[in-house]
């Protein structure tokens, strides 16, 4: 079977990227998405993250799975604005492979902190760190991509937790809400251009980061990644993964505050 055949097959709607750049590539969801993109026909993947050893393991795995693909890794500071700006210029600026790729380039910004609410509520330093790593930093990445790229898709992992603040995870949720407003603004700013901006909102997903949650309600990471890849390929502005969370969160958002505040969830 050729790559072209697989692109036409049912369930593979939208355009498959030729080149993917994944920021926070060691997260379980990001790793699964990268696998799917390469399987669907992308020929290069650039994995950006903090942990060199983990990046290398993932790149080795991808190299075994897709011997024809070119997989490279880059260790970078994901938080400092100077590093973000230089890194994005390095893969999407003039003369880079990202610029040459045009509409074939897809960037996924996937990093975040999974610090427990209790812990981030206990000190302002911890809260500031969650807000910075989960909210400010991904927002700067997509802002830098929007400033640098001229075509392609910019996607970023938000969360259903950003749809309404809850006592169980509002610091994390607030960070994700920041990303949501950023993507809305970028979508507005870039409307009519060759750049697409996709906000992905995964529901609770079974990953090594969520072993502390009750496992029963968690979606398998590969199913979530499948929904994300389909949605990003199609360029949908907002992708709930799995889709049922769109309905659930519509209900949650519309519960009147006096009622909401009496609920314990």
């Amino acid at each position: 079977m050729t790559a072209t055949d697989s692109r036409k097959s049912r369930g593979n709607s939208g355009a498959w990227p030729t080149d993917v750049v994944v920021v926070g590539a060691t997260s379980a969801i990001a790793e699964q998405c990268t696998r799917l993109w390469l399987e669907g026909g992308a020929s290069t993947a650039l994995l950006i993250g903090r942990d060199e050893e983990k990046l290398t393991r993932i790149a080795t795995d991808l190299g075994v799975r897709f011997p024809a693909a070119a997989v490279t890794t880059l260790v970078a500071d994901l938080v400092s604005p100077a590093s973000i700006s230089a890194t994005v210029a390095g893969f999407a600026g003039p003369g880079t492979f990202g610029a040459a790729s045009g509409a074939g380039l897809t960037v996924l910004v996937a990093h975040g902190s999974m610090t427990e609410q209790e812990e981030s509520q206990a000190s302002l330093d911890a809260a500031a760190s969650v807000l910075e790593i989960t909210g400010v930093s991904p927002s700067l990445w997509i802002e830098a991509c929007a400033d640098t790229m001229t075509a392609g898709t910019i996607s970023v992992l938000g969360s259903v937790a950003g749809d309404r603040g809850r006592k169980k995870n509002y610091i994390y949720g607030a960070s994700k809400a920041l990303i949501e407003a950023m993507t809305e603004g970028l979508q507005h700013r870039l409307a009519g251009s060759a750049l697409r901006v996709v906000l992905v909102k995964p529901g609770p997903t079974a990953t090594p980061m969520t072993t502390a949650l009750p496992q029963a309600g968690l979606a398998p990471v590969e199913a979530v990644a499948g929904e994300i890849v389909a949605g990003v390929n199609a360029g949908r502005p907002v992708v709930y993964a799995p889709l049922k969370w769109k309905l659930i969160m519509a209900v949650v958002r519309n519960i009147p505050t006096p009622v909401f505040n009496k609920l314990n969830f």
Binding site: M1, D5, S6, S9, R10, G11, N12, A28, L36, E39, G40, R57, I58, T60, D61, V64, R65, P67, T207, P208, T211, A212, L213, P214, Q215, A216, E222, A223, A225, G226, E227, V229, A230
Partner: protein, 442 residues
């Protein structure tokens, strides 16, 4: 660490376990030492209590699911323990390699396949999963690391293959894949009407076909009808892959049994009809056809969570292998007990096993005939029926498959697995499951 309710495939229990994630081979030793005793979990496809440890520790290394190296010349794959057989088949069938031995579901981990020394529809020609394993890296609860294989630390290898996860945590394995012309098989379905006919057909098929298996209608008395399937790999380059083989088709959920019905959908009222329907359906597809490996190897993988069909009380699977000399009469005797009870399901499997002795101390496969039947759990009446089946197995000198078992008596275990005492020398004292306490005493 988190406390979670965990069931195995038979859904006979859902006790709380302390689930401890293991996310790196290097860090495993310290975590094992701190949280022992426990047992490793895989994809929960074993039917009974081999990977359950109610109230205790369950090590979860499923996120270690990466390939480490593959040599496209030799077909040798090195991988982490949580890699799914499904991923191996999908990835390497494109490159002309597949697993030499695969069980009837692909949703199992490599470590689980080794720990239960699984077998497939080609036991006669290819032996068991362990026959194609080149090395296994174990981490013990005392921090020791053991690398074993057919030629090095052979005794550890024989203890670990089929060793029920009790010799140490498997953190890496090397596997020899088998050269194939692609993902296709040329398969043939043939109906048989009696056990005698089955044995003739099966023996004749084994000379010419790599894969031989049969479905048997457990409800007919007198005539023992069934469908024998046999297949060989075949090149067939111009076919479109089935939907499940597309990139996103493969990860999107197929049809599933969406909830646990309040009672077993397989019961006395539906059983004969289900068997008749299944027979007629298969009867429509008699003859030869080119099929993708997925529906041939893994027909039940197409329906997610099919085990829910047996209702809230779960089900038992009785899988035994009986020496060939007495196999035909013992199979008839078991089917007689089952028919008389009115219990059972429409998923009866009858197949012959090859003569290659399994290398694992507690490996299940041996020469003879294998019979597998599911039983919805009706409580005492099911347990009494299973005890009657046990006595047939015991008299025939056969054994039950540990990966499927939730209740065999210690006497049957010891008689079926004569190397059990030798195995104890290699058991990690910090590793313990419900099954190991039940059958091995610790």
């Amino acid at each position: 660490m988190t406390v979670a309710r965990v069931s195995s495939w038979g859904r006979l229990s859902d006790a709380e376990h302390s689930v401890v994630p293991i996310t790196s081979a290097a860090g495993a030793g310290a975590i094992l030492a701190a949280t022992a005793p426990g047992i490793a979990r895989g994809m929960e496809r074993s039917y009974g209590d081999v990977a359950l440890n109610p109230g205790g520790t369950l090590w979860d290394a499923r996120s270690l699911n990466r390939f480490l190296a593959f040599d496209a010349e030799t077909g040798i794959l090195r991988c982490e323990p949580g890699v799914l057989l499904r991923d191996i088949q999908a990835t390497f069938s494109r490159q002309g390699w597949m697993l030499a031995v695969t069980p009837g579901t692909s949703v199992v981990t490599v470590a689980g396949a080794i720990a239960n020394d699984v077998h497939g529809k080609n036991h006669a020609t290819r032996g068991t999963f362990a026959d194609h394993v080149l090395s296994v890296n174990l981490v013990r609860t005392d921090g020791a690391v053991i690398v074993c294989g057919p030629a090095s630390n052979r005794e550890w290898f024989e203890a670990t293959c089929g060793g029920l996860g009790l010799t140490g945590l498997i953190v890496e394995a090397s596997i020899q894949l088998k050269k194939v012309p692609g993902p296709w098989l040329l398969a043939e379905n043939i109906a048989y009407q009696s056990l005698g006919e089955f044995f003739e057909l099966s023996d004749a098929s084994e000379a010419e076909f790599e894969y031989v298996v049969s479905w048997i209608d457990i409800t007919t008395d007198g005539g023992r009808r069934g469908i024998l399937s046999r297949a060989n790999p075949t090149p067939s380059p111009h076919r479109a892959l089935p939907r499940g083989a597309t990139v996103l088709g493969g990860v999107r959920s197929g049809p599933a049994i969406p909830f646990v019905p309040p009672f077993s959908l397989v019961n006395k009222a539906t059983l004969p009809a289900l068997n008749r329907a299944y027979y007629r359906m298969q009867h429509l597809s008699l003859g030869s056809s080119v099929v993708h490996y997925k529906p041939f190897f893994y027909p039940l993988d197409a329906i997610q969570e099919w085990n829910r069909a047996y209702g809230p009380r779960g089900f038992f699977q009785h899988q035994c292998v009986l020496p060939r000399s007495v196999g035909a009469s013992a199979v008839a005797e078991i089917l007689g007990h089952v028919a008389a009870s009115g219990q059972g399901s429409f998923l009866g499997v009858l197949k012959t096993m090859g003569s290659r002795p399994a290398l694992g101390m507690l490996s299940y496969p041996r020469e003879g005939v294998n019979l597998t039947i599911d039983f919805p759990n009706l409580g005492d009446s099911t347990l009494r029926l299973l005890a009657r089946l046990d006595s047939v197995v015991s008299q025939a000198g056969g054994r039950l498959y540990l990966a499927k078992d939730a209740r065999m008596p210690v006497s049957l275990f010891r008689a079926g697995y004569p190397r059990w005492e030798e195995f104890l020398q290699y058991k990690d004292p910090g590793m313990s499951s419900e099954m190991s306490r039940r059958l091995l005493g610790s």
